[in-house]
């Protein structure tokens, strides 16, 4: 319950400040523009590159948002207040995770439409693409929200966040790209897509459990 209150409050703050979302959306637009020029103009090249561009752009923009989720507390100097709330502190992590997850889904859906338009990604399989988006975004946010919390008090937190998160989320990006490629390829075997989904599901469950268990110890400082 408290985690939802925190997530909704962060969403309200983000809607009023818009600093994080604007940066992330601008970043996505620039990445798509550059990648579109780099791989274009042949349709076959763009179609092949589409899934990779989608997930790389989402991963980088997600890091910006993860950093933002905790920067709200640093800018307002309100982290102490959160730490002084009664009870165990897992809910702080879960609240930030929910906030980031919701933003990632919105951004992912927006990105999917842009990539479909620019990189000829067929949206006819949108239910399968959405499942991949949910599984991939969950795996990504679970790790990013944790490490963004871990580095929140550090001066070089933005640089460190990229260094810490990207090696860990490599399996997520790889599995999500492979699953997306399988979905958009009309001759691909769907069973292969399902196996990538399973890998993403296992990653999500394992990392979510670990992060929830470890968070109270790491945030104590």
């Amino acid at each position: 319950m408290r985690a939802w209150v925190l997530a909704l409050r962060d969403l309200r703050l983000e809607m009023r400040g818009r600093a994080g979302l604007l940066s992330a959306f601008s970043f996505i637009a620039v990445v798509l523009f550059i990648m579109g020029i780099a791989f274009g103009p042949e349709e076959a090249n763009l179609r092949r590159a589409g899934p990779g561009v989608l997930w790389v752009a989402l991963a980088f923009a997600g890091s910006m948002l993860a950093s933002r989720a905790w920067a709200i507390e640093v800018e307002n100097e309100t982290l102490d207040e959160l730490l002084l709330t009664p009870g165990s502190r897992e809910w702080i992590y879960v609240g930030k995770l929910l906030f980031l997850w919701l933003l990632m889904l919105v951004m992912g859906a927006f990105l999917l439409v842009l990539v479909a338009a620019w990189f000829y990604l067929p949206l006819s399989s949108w239910p399968q693409l959405f499942v991949t988006l949910v599984l991939g975004a969950t795996g990504y946010t679970v790790v990013a929200a944790f490490y963004a919390g871990l580095t929140v008090r550090l001066r070089a937190r933005d640089v460190l966040l990229y260094l810490l998160v990207f090696p860990l989320i490599l399996p997520v990006v790889l599995a999500a790209v492979k699953a997306t490629l399988g979905i958009v390829d009309p001759v691909a075997d769907f069973a292969e897509v399902v196996s990538w989904w399973k890998l993403l599901g296992v990653f999500d469950v394992v990392y979510a459990t670990l992060c929830v268990l470890l968070f109270p110890a790491v945030i104590e400082g």
Partner: protein
């Protein structure tokens, strides 16, 4: 760095920490609030070691200098969110009453508050929180005479239901309000 600190605060006491800049008054408040873990020694709160308190953490009220609030939220939103997250939700009418009592206008974002208004908002939060241990860092700064009177009232009310530790440079204020003065000295 803090060294050789021994301080026991009894219920009903108002303890004022005095001392020059950089002597560690704020750090000591943060150690008491369990926000900094001491490398040596022990902090006990409400009869328990600091690391063993989880539910009791909600009994601690900390007013930093300057008090921390979300700038894009209004005063009322800050209060309601803060209390909801501390599992002490209060009715909107109570929040409005507290805001009126400290003389703050409704609906204005905290970003538009002066530092004195922020202090007043912190007082309103303390009134609603009703902490059993109130920790205040230079609470009297930036307050006008009306705000100062309100502050004295809030501190006395908090001490009647618990204890108060405040850090200040103002000896007159400390002498007026505190039941015990603790002078901190820089380590030699």
């Amino acid at each position: 760095m803090l060294r050789d600190v021994q301080l026991a605060v009894e219920p009903g006491e108002i303890v004022a920490l005095l001392g020059p800049n950089g002597v560690g008054k704020t750090t000591l408040l943060r150690v008491i609030a369990t926000l900094i873990r001491p490398q040596r020694g022990e902090v006990r709160l409400f009869g328990k070691p600091a690391k063993a308190i989880e539910q009791e953490r909600g009994w601690i009220g900390l007013v930093a200098n300057p008090p921390a609030f979300y700038r894009h939220l209004s005063g009322e939103e800050n209060l309601s969110q803060s209390l909801a997250l501390s599992s002490k939700p209060v009715a909107a009418a109570e929040i409005t009453a507290a805001m009126e009592r400290v003389g703050l206008p409704a609906g204005r974002p905290v970003a538009a508050y002066s530092s004195g208004m922020r202090k007043r908002l912190a007082l309103a939060r303390t009134m609603l929180q009703k902490p059993r241990l109130l920790l205040l860092d230079e609470p009297e700064t930036a307050l006008d005479s009306g705000g100062r009177e309100e502050l004295v009232e809030v501190i006395r009310s908090a001490a009647s239901g618990g204890a108060v530790v405040l850090a200040t440079h103002d000896h007159d204020f400390a002498g007026e309000i505190a039941s015990r003065l603790v002078e901190m000295e820089a380590a030699r």
